[in-house]
């Protein structure tokens, strides 16, 4: 029982991190109807910026406290993501208003390569470390209930809490505010949104900026777990099934989808693995996503796809 619980908790916390990346996809999709292929590149770019500035800031300013250095690096990287959002809107999106979704998708593919390249040109392409001082040592919970207790990785726990807070704030923003409503309106129809006075350009900057900050937080957490390197972009690929499962248009969907996949991966690996041979963790999410595409293409919480003939 304790072992099951341990696996479950581990899965939940890993799932929270998937949710965080998935959230970036959902945000931009909700607000512009674009599937943002560049989300993975944004995560890498943000993480690179964060890692390098955390190195550089003490050298430039002589600040020795790692907390202060990390904080400053986080703020600079956040500012940089804002600049990236602004530039993307200026140079790319502004010229593609009222275009087909596919056109915009291709544009984000271009942005993705560009960000990968420029990120590594500016910040270097080695493996860097982000150390925000998250505790690494595990803790043992429920020791009174089970013998030996349940082992929880403290770092994962912190990461999950950060992700949960971010996700809660964003759902509130989308569902309860007029700006959130305006964002949803833009996603549905650019032209109509403009006709009722929603400033498309500003909305796009806002949403890419928010997605940038989400990418930064995701990059920071994943980066401190895995190290900041090019393979970080593949984290975005892990989030794809989450988005399909939860629905491209749903913030809560991204969370629940992330949790289901996180838990599913871990449980199936541990309990099914011995029977069918290991490695389930690698493909489980994708197979689950495939099943969903067949039977419920809009995902668990996505807006129902309505088409009149």
């Amino acid at each position: 029982m304790a072992f099951f619980l341990e696996t479950l908790l581990g899965g939940l916390m890993a799932g929270m991190l998937y949710s965080l990346v998935a959230l970036g996809f959902v945000l931009i999709y909700k607000a512009s109807g674009v599937f943002n292929f560049a989300q993975g590149a944004m995560v890498l770019f943000a993480a690179l910026a964060m890692a390098r500035f955390a190195e550089w800031v003490p050298l430039w300013t002589g600040i020795s406290s790692p907390i202060a250095a990390n904080l400053i690096a986080f703020i600079i990287a956040g500012g940089l993501m804002f600049v990236v959002a602004w530039v993307i809107e200026r140079l790319v999106l502004r010229h593609l208003v009222n275009q087909e979704g596919t056109t915009l998708l291709m544009a984000t593919l271009g942005i993705s390569y560009f960000l990968d390249g420029i990120g590594q040109t500016i910040f270097g392409s080695d493996i860097y470390k982000i150390d925000v001082g998250m505790p690494k040592e595990p803790i043992f919970a429920f020791e009174s209930l089970f013998e030996g207790g349940v082992l929880i990785n403290k770092e994962d726990l912190y990461a999950a809490v950060i992700a949960a807070v971010l996700v809660a704030a964003l759902s509130l923003f989308f569902q309860k505010t007029a700006t959130g409503r305006a964002l949803r309106a833009v996603a549905d129809d650019h032209q109509a949104a403009q006709s009722i006075g929603i400033p498309l350009n500003r909305i796009w900057v806002i949403v890419w900026c928010v997605a940038g900050v989400v990418a930064l937080v995701a990059g920071m957490i994943w980066g401190s777990k895995l190290g900041v390197q090019f393979s970080l972009t593949t984290v975005a690929l892990r989030a794809l099934p989450v988005v399909i499962l939860g629905g491209l248009t749903s913030v809560p969907g991204a969370i629940v989808g992330g949790l289901i996949i996180g838990v599913g991966e871990k449980l199936s690996e541990v309990f099914l693995g011995p029977y069918v041979g290991g490695g389930i963790e690698i493909w489980f999410a994708y197979v689950l996503a495939l099943v969903f595409l067949l039977f419920r293409p809009q995902g668990l919480f996505g807006e129902k796809i309505i088409d009149r003939v």
Binding site: A169, L172, F173, K176, T177, A178, T179, R181, A182, R184, A185, D188, D189, Q191, A192, A193, Q194, S195, I196, G197, I198, P199, L200, T249, E303, K304, I306, R308
Partner: protein, 260 residues
């Protein structure tokens, strides 16, 4: 009709618009007076929607200017147009399909919402009051358009005629001074057309909104409009009261064809 028609509010001068070699509009001038119902008619491809899209800022005409309330523009910017108080509906519906009727119409209040994001998210005092105020305004529109029963329905699920009403409702929520209606009755049956006519006239009457509408149904146009502009192949061939236009030779030949 006993309503008061005011001064010129919208003045379109010498508008020419072409797409490559195709001339959509050639040297079109006409004006719209405050509180009137002004119709733009013409056969298919006459340039009616292009004209509306120029006023609305979707297209930028190569020549000419548009004067709204004394301010002259070479190019209208879609967002700016909305801020100035010009609302519009679309020929091919452009509603926010995944959102409810309520949310669609609420989104029309976007420009009127003053409280900031943080206050809205936390529902602090003024934001809450503001939301309620806007919700009341939207409820009045819902009552007016008789779509109470569909408040929470995603608009994508509504029949076409009702979607057209929601489109009108969203534009009304802006409380525009000028309302541009692009074929509000296209594809409707007689009953739905009558309803829509009633709504357009009521909007014009009760709120004093100036209405510019494009319409194909001559019966409807002659009944509800004060003045009519007739376009054919991107040129203006007639302008005047319904009676004047009805008796205009050129208009008759454009619509009925001439015998040679």
């Amino acid at each position: 009709m006993s309503k008061k028609i005011g001064d010129v509010i919208l003045d379109v001068k010498n508008i020419s618009l072409s797409f490559g070699g195709v001339k959509a509009l050639t040297d079109i001038s006409f004006n719209v007076r405050e509180h009137e119902v002004r119709a733009i008619i013409g056969p298919n491809g006459a340039g009616k929607s292009s004209m509306l899209n120029c006023i609305n800022g979707v297209y930028t005409p190569q020549q000419g200017s548009i004067t709204f309330r004394g301010q002259s523009f070479k190019h209208m910017d879609s967002h700016q147009v909305a801020v100035m108080g010009i609302g519009r509906t679309f020929q091919n519906l452009a509603l926010f399909k995944g959102m409810s009727v309520l949310d669609n119409i609420m989104s029309g209040r976007n420009l009127k919402i003053k409280s900031n994001i943080l206050m809205q998210a936390l529902r602090i005092g003024p934001a809450e009051r503001e939301e309620i105020m806007h919700r009341e305004a939207v409820e009045r529109i819902i009552d007016f358009l008789e779509i109470q029963a569909y408040r929470k329905t995603p608009v994508g699920q509504l029949p076409y005629g009702l979607q057209k009403r929601v489109d009108l409702g969203r534009a009304l929520a802006m409380e525009p001074q000028v309302l541009l209606l692009d074929e509000p009755m296209a594809g409707m049956n007689v009953e739905e057309k009558q309803d829509m006519c009633r709504f357009v006239l009521d909007v014009n009457d009760e709120f004093g909104t100036t209405v510019v509408l494009i319409e194909h149904d001559m019966g409807v146009v002659m009944d509800i409009s004060d003045r009519v502009v007739v376009l054919d192949y991107g040129k203006k061939i007639g302008d005047g009261t319904p009676d004047e236009v009805r008796n205009n030779e050129e208009v008759i030949s454009a619509y009925l064809g001439t015998s040679h």
